[in-house]
Symmetry: C2
Subunit: 338 residues, 2 copies
């Protein structure tokens, strides 16, 4: 199908002129929200790739790369992104970042904006996203790399085994004698990293001969206060847990603070673990036992892979960064008689 | 001067053809680093504004706005930026962010990249930056808003009084009876916020009849470990301080951890204060007494001002967001006999 006929198809489907479609794509501020939405729906439905018909995007050398991250808060992605940016800068490439607020629709929009603003390639976090985002990447021939998770997609990934790391942490908890284990997890919908970590804990329970359905999981946004409230809900259950495995360090630190407010000693009365090893994990009391993710190595590796893709090379499909457990003091054996 | 002759001037000064200048500006990846540097130096020297000659940038409606922040680490800017982004999103505008690593050259480059990639306006942090960055903004007629500080520039600012807030904190420290006061500050060069906070503490000392030159100031990068080392250096001085005023919460938390490692009680043996009131300030032990900055209000206000500027309106020149001190426990009177 020629570029021309496609533009006409979009116009026809949206019930507007081809000039309006062009204006909508190039100067969206000049059309009404309603028209823009109608045109963009037609663009999505017909798989029309504005601007990219004549010339593959990869041949445009803007020296700009994009990244869409779920949040800028709590430094969860900051350290890895910093290393990613430094490696790009060494190659003379500037990074533009967009943050989606863990919203899949917003992520898809932001990927499109970054590419239409000239990003030669994009860094994406994890694998769970809307099909239309992947379709847009394919249509626009935009190189992309997935980080923070392992992926079986064709495009390369530089990540780590979220499930395996969470399983290893749960195994350590079980080995200390805990049987009443709960989890405070991030929202798992459209977050493969969060979902894999829950899966990893369940797998450890099964392996230990325990019923994985007995695992209480509280799903909350990655926020200190939300973790505190989830902690409260877990502790008023008929059989309160003796150990809480948290989906990340923000949740772990929030849980430690909530335990103290309740007058509970960590780990004597309740064990708490985290995931990520962000700076704060070492500065709370007790220090948070957590999964250390080598964020710098991941960010630098992702940059190398993306730069190679942009140059038309074929980097290694999957780079798995090894994680390890860092013991700090928030995990101990259950209280005798608990 | 016509656009044409300017392009020729740049080519002449750089000793290349006008075609090379164009390629350099539009497809920088296709010229060598050396050529690009020569051309960009000529562009800077001659004040040539690529692309923007015929048509003011403000008339391009890309529905994209840029922000250059000093760092994505430690959530110092995350909360304000999140509010900024949400207010933009409500107006159908996408935010692209670049982080300069507190490097003024990099900031100037990133402003240029954002504008050349279509940003209709930019958010900047504080006032201290290279003249060429301000010149580029003026030449390209790019609307910008300054946040996190007050500014006497023509473009509007939505910020707070860094000096006044730090002075208020120092006054409180003095009122408790402390006389041997030190400061762990961020690097003040090209960081007006850090410099103003030091100035505020000195002003309080002068007002209290103390010699401001007796204030020991350790300037370090905003990192937990750097603060810990600065703390060590301060405590081995002939007259160690009884109170340390930190330039932000990352430094404050790092200092609290260092105090504990040294076996010192906070605040009984040493008082420590912060600035910003990021989440972590409430989760360390003792909680960090700090300056609360209403980041959400600042971010939302900055978005409103920038959107107004882009629409050709004239927003209020200076919006000063009130800060307040949050008492948490890390600040107390000096030990008797100390």
């Amino acid at each position: 199908m020629s570029l021309r006929s496609k533009l006409e198809d979009v116009a026809k489907m949206a019930g507007v002129s081809t000039a309006t479609v062009s204006r909508c794509l190039n100067e969206p501020g000049k059309v009404t929200n309603k028209t823009r939405e109608r045109v963009m729906n037609a663009v999505d439905a017909l798989g029309y790739t504005p601007h990219f018909g004549a010339k593959a995007l990869a041949s445009r050398k803007t020296r700009t790369v994009g990244a869409v991250i779920p949040t800028m808060d709590n430094a969860i992605f900051a350290r890895g992104l910093q290393a990613f940016q430094e490696a790009l800068a060494a190659a003379g490439v500037t990074l533009l970042v967009s943050s989606s607020g863990y919203d899949a629709e917003q992520e898809a929009d932001q990927i499109r904006v970054l590419v239409m603003r000239g990003a030669e390639g994009v860094l994406l976090i994890g694998t769970a996203r809307l099909a239309k985002a992947y379709e847009f990447l394919a249509r626009s021939k935009t190189p992309y790399v997935i980080a923070w998770a392992l992926s079986d997609r064709e495009s390369p990934c530089v990540g780590f085994d979220n499930m395996g790391a969470a399983k290893a942490m749960a195994e350590r908890v079980l080995a200390l004698g805990h049987r009443d284990i709960a989890m405070i997890s991030g929202i798992t919908a459209m977050n493969d990293r969060a979902a894999s970590r829950v899966e990893g804990v369940r797998a450890a329970l099964v392996q230990g001969g325990l019923d994985p359905d007995r695992l209480s999981v509280e799903e909350v946004h990655y926020a200190f206060d939300a973790a505190g409230k989830a902690f409260e809900r877990l502790m008023v259950r008929e059989v309160p847990p003796t150990a809480i495995i948290c989906g990340n360090d923000v949740l772990g630190v929030g849980a430690i603070s909530a335990a103290k407010r309740r007058g509970l000693r960590v780990p004597e009365d309740i064990s708490i673990t985290g995931f990520d090893d962000i700076d704060i994990a070492a500065h709370v009391e007790p220090g948070l036992t957590t999964v250390h993710v080598p964020h710098e190595r991941m960010g630098a590796g992702a940059a190398a892979a993306l730069l190679a893709l942009i140059e038309g090379e074929t980097p290694q499909a999957t780079v798995c960064i090894e994680t390890r457990i860092v013991e700090r003091g928030s995990l101990g054996p259950p209280r005798v008689g608990a």
